[in-house]
């Protein structure tokens, strides 16, 4: 059996176990729910179609065409009463005059008027809310996914070590295959979950017909975010496996993974704090640990030149090659040291206790 075949078997088990893990499934469903909520919430907040009372039949067609619910009443007094009782949002009486309690009902007004066509000179300009929301969502997604999946990688390595099944595994397949299989499985699952959320989000926005120019700006951002995400996740995944191998018991994982948690958290907060600072964001978009968040954000805001994401991705890939080597060495050096927590230095010095 080749290393690849063995790694495939290992990955298959990891995925099967995860797909049957109730906590994982529930988490995914919850994330989907929040995505749907995020898409639908603005519509819900706007409220359903407005109800409007009309005197006479003149404006009924125009109002109905604008998607409003129309109630025809006899005279102005009846219309006023309905508005005061808040039975309807507004009323149209002869004139035409629009009656409302306090707010000018935009939908009714625009249904009754002819607006001149508008030409956008800067169609990519997005509203302030989106400018804040998109970087926030991307940061949270990357942060949340790398942290939860990362901790799970570490725990599953420690579990194998703690239950000593690792001795049976190592006696039959290369240590490399165990590491590759585990990391590949988790990367696949994390990517799958993210792709599911992204697809659901975009499709949801199309169906709900919200966002408009936002979706067009989002697509290239998401298109870049996915490869950055996969490579960034991979860069951290092997390190997570390594810190899992350093621990002897599940209780140790928190301690051995502390530096890594710091490495995941810091870029998250930096990007959120510095997103208004274009110089800082440029730097962050090239640092491998923050690039998966910062570069897509810069692409979204239109600040990144076309070649920039390629360079940042190349730097990220090179760093990933490095962490894969470091992670694999630590993993090999500590996987079979079952007596207590292994120090980084001890694992590094003795990368292959295996014969």
């Amino acid at each position: 059996m080749t290393t690849f075949e063995a790694a495939k078997l290992v990955a298959g088990r990891e995925i099967r176990v995860k797909l049957r893990d109730k906590a994982f499934l529930l988490g995914t469903v919850l994330l989907l729910f929040f995505t749907a909520l995020g898409v639908v919430l603005p519509i819900l907040l706007e409220g359903g179609p407005g109800k409007v009372a009309v005197v006479g039949a003149t404006h009924v067609a125009a109002l109905e065409k604008a998607g409003l619910e129309v109630e025809v009443v006899a005279d102005r007094a009846a219309a006023e009463r309905l508005v005061r009782d808040e039975e309807v949002d507004a009323a149209v009486v002869d004139g035409p005059v629009v009656l409302s309690l306090e707010e000018s009902p935009q939908d009714v007004v625009s249904a009754l008027s002819t607006s001149p066509p508008v030409e956008f000179l800067d169609p990519d300009a997005l509203d302030e809310a989106a400018r804040f929301l998109v970087p926030f969502v991307l940061s949270v997604l990357f942060f949340f996914t790398t942290l939860t999946f990362g901790v799970q990688i570490a725990q599953s390595v420690t579990e194998e070590k703690q239950t000593r099944i690792v001795e049976i595994l190592v006696s039959s397949v290369p240590v490399r295959a165990l590491l590759i299989g585990k990391v590949a499985a988790m990367t696949l699952l994390a990517f799958g979950q993210l792709a599911l959320l992204a697809t659901a989000g975009v499709i949801g926005m199309r169906i709900a017909d919200v966002g408009g120019p936002l979706i067009d700006a989002l697509l290239p951002t998401i298109g870049w975010f996915l490869p950055f995400f996969v490579v960034g996740f991979l860069m951290l995944a092997t390190l997570w496996a390594a810190v899992g191998a350093l621990a002897a018991r599940l209780e140790d994982v928190n301690g051995t993974s502390a530096p890594l948690q710091f490495l995941v958290m810091t870029p998250f907060f930096l990007v959120l704090a510095l997103q208004g600072n274009s110089a800082a964001m440029t730097v962050l978009s090239y640092i491998p640990f923050s690039a998966p968040i910062a570069m897509p954000v810069r692409i979204f805001s239109g600040e990144a030149a076309a070649w920039e994401p390629y360079l940042a991705l190349a730097i990220l890939l090179a760093t990933t090659a490095g962490t894969l080597m470091v992670g694999a060495r630590i993993y090999q050096g500590s996987l079979l040291r079952t007596s207590g927590r292994t120090s980084f230095a001890a694992a590094w010095r003795n990368p292959a206790p295996v014969g």
Partner: protein
Amino acid sequence: MTTVLNVEAVNRTFGERQVLKDVSFTVDSGRLTGFVGANGAGKTTTMRIILGVLAADSGAVTWRGRPVTRQDRQAFGYMPEERGLYPKMTVTEQVVYLGRLHGLSAADARRRTTALLERLELAERGGDPVEKLSLGNQQRAQIAAALVHDPELLVLDEPFSGLDPLAVENVLTVLRERARSGAAVLFSSHQLELVERLCDDLAIIADGTIRAAGSRTWLREQYTLPRYTIEVDSDAGWLRDEPGVTLLELDGRRAVFDLDAEADDQAVLRSALSRGPVRTFAPVRPSLAEIFREVIQ
């Protein structure tokens, strides 16, 4: 019945402590080899080196005359001392998984798992997660995990600890079957009576050195004292005056005695026959426990 596994002058230190010193012994196919020693004598370390879970500082482990490769180890089955399976996976699933890691096809792994769980009287529990099983049943699942790929070499670290007497018999039968069909079986145990009953060959280790190794019969002959038991039809008290005889026990018609090195056992027998019928006259074979005590000193 040929030597397949050869452990040759293996040394290993942990820090300052040398746990294995020139450990050498062989394991034959078709036979059960018992690996006996006190706690900390080096049994587990030796087994881990054979399985490649640990590297030797020097020395070699060969399989059919060549250094053991990863490919060879695919055909090894291992039951570590500290038992471990995935707690939340079902018995069937993990035995199938471990079978596949040892190179079985999915269909083969499933078929053999079913048959093996049946054989180990664990079929009913196949769908239960390991953590839900009793300790004895977890042990059987562990044995199934070591056997599923029909290994050519089985290395079992204390396979009987934690089993009730019925389960011991069951596992014992399965191991004998494996040996009869040509597998080499190496197992460690501190239950000396069990090893004595079960194994064909023995290796005794103490303080990291092999003190004695060979077939059980040969070892017993090696360590047989010049001690005899005799049963005659009348009182055996005359033995006291027989030249070269040191009487150890006398119970009417039965006696146990040691014989001086230069004395002839046949002379004693003739002397007994001249006094009447002799029902028993035999050298006393030492038990494994006695040999063990002697060689580890």
